[in-house]
Amino acid sequence: MTYEAVIGLEVHVQLKTRSKMFTRAAAGYGHPENTLTDPVVLALPGTLPVMNKDALDKIIKAGLLLGCEIAPVCKWDRKNYFYPDSPKNYQISQYDQPICKGGSVEIELPGPARNIMGEHKSVALTRIHLEEDVGKLNHGDGASLVDFNRAGTPLMEIVSEPVIRSADEAFAYLTALKTVMIYGGISDCDMEKGQLRCDANISIRPVGQAALGTKVELKNLNSFSFVRDGIAHEIRRQTAVLESGGKIVQETRDYDGQTGTSQSLRSKEMAHDYRYFPDPDLMPVEVDQRWKDSIRATCPELPFDRQRRLQAEYGIPYTITSVLVPDRDLGDYFEEAARLSGKAQAAGNWITNDLLRELGAAKKSLSESKVKPVHVAGLVKLVEEGTILSNAAKEVFVDMFNTGDLPEAVVARRGLKAETNLEDLERWCAEAIAANPKSVADYKGGKESALNAFKGPVMRQAKGKADPKRVDETLRRLLAG
């Protein structure tokens, strides 16, 4: 029997705000333990929450980018449960009135090869709501240590419909979601920093069956590849269970990416009963058309829309757009360089090959690059005009990368200008022809390749600085004469 998987993802994304969701203590990552707290974060007696306007702006932006319906009114609920990383022992969240409903994420499945675009699909969303993050538990021997720096960070919970069918689709979904979040300036989605966290609900059923199988919740998928591998592993595990005549148990499993295995989390002795109720400390949020419009005005073009536009507008291939587009800044960089140079393809090549290679080697980010779009455009022009030759251009690029000098300056400083003394070139060509009568005969006899025999000596004379195109032209003219 063949089975198909039914997968729904619950993704938590930290919003990129300066202060926390319900108090103005600073939000941040990588600070010394318990230095980002205040009485509200620590839930000291008497403290009260106050919403962060920017977090609301950002979730509305996320909702608009993903085509969600923004609720005209939403409220806050308390989700009650005890855990040492939760200072109030309830989490302020949204239960039955999330701020965003519906919507979808456009994803791209892996193509048949790296350089060929894969199939695009739309993954429907159930809802997106806003809540607050918890602190961090560090497990030691016999005790746990709690750091509340992360507690209270604004957190978006994005719930997909159970429409994902494979580990690859899940991976593609996360990738696309992350790209949209980065485009919107909503979150950096750095999984290593816990800015994006993912749980998966997975069931399988025989192909053609409408009823859903028993679902298993997979937790601790803490990198993109662990999400893919963990889901693939769980599908295999469930398939094996069913094929051996067993039954799937509804449970929560913990995936260990290091060993590629999963383990059932001992079912809690008490079933969860979160006792949701409206938070009496907070007032509802009302989102009117004006607010939505003002956020919409700040929404960027979606990444896949941009990719399609770049291909259509600049005629550049998927191999380049698929590199440029996932990084909004790189895409912007490209568009600037393409505009300045008027040669999109050449600019794209320089950026996706040389710039990324040098940045990678130097372990630098784009914003740290001394080579700006104006440098790339300048270089493209010099090559285009024949002022420098392509191998010299490579040298210029590396120099610019290190010094930040403009290409013209590098060419002048390093004497990389292509040979333009036409008298010398004329003389070297004539000498080469005179020295090789056999090849002259061959050429005149129709053997086109015989021309190459003259080029070597000319280039040697020119010490490599002659434009091959001009050498070719000159030789043909002299031989024809």
């Binding site: 202060s19 980002l36 609301l56 240590l145 709690v146």
Partner: protein
């Protein structure tokens, strides 16, 4: 409305994370039984079509701009901690 006898004290005390002695259980069960019986008279009220009141004077969009303010120093954050180590709060090990 549920019946006062539905009340399962052990289950609820578990949710509330409070250990009760046998003596407390007996006393609370009877006292809360009385209270629940009294509360059951809310059943008489016709609440059809009545909106719940969450706030006496509701307003909307009460928020603050996203401007960080100084918080507590680590020392102040941990001042009341029953047990601390390495600038963190110590809790006995968490068993899932």
């Amino acid at each position: 409305m549920p019946k006062p006898e539905d009340f399962n004290l052990d289950h609820v005390a578990n949710l509330a994370r409070i250990n009760l002695t046998e003596e407390e259980k007996a006393r609370f069960a009877s006292q809360l039984g009385d209270v629940l019986t009294y509360i059951a008279q809310l059943n008489e009220v016709n609440v059809e079509g009545v909106e719940p009141t969450a706030h006496a004077f509701p307003v909307v969009n009460v928020w603050a701009e996203d401007v960080p303010e100084a918080g507590l120093s680590v020392e102040d954050a941990l001042r009341n901690a029953p047990e601390k180590r390495d600038n963190m709060f110590v809790v006995p090990k968490v068993v899932e």
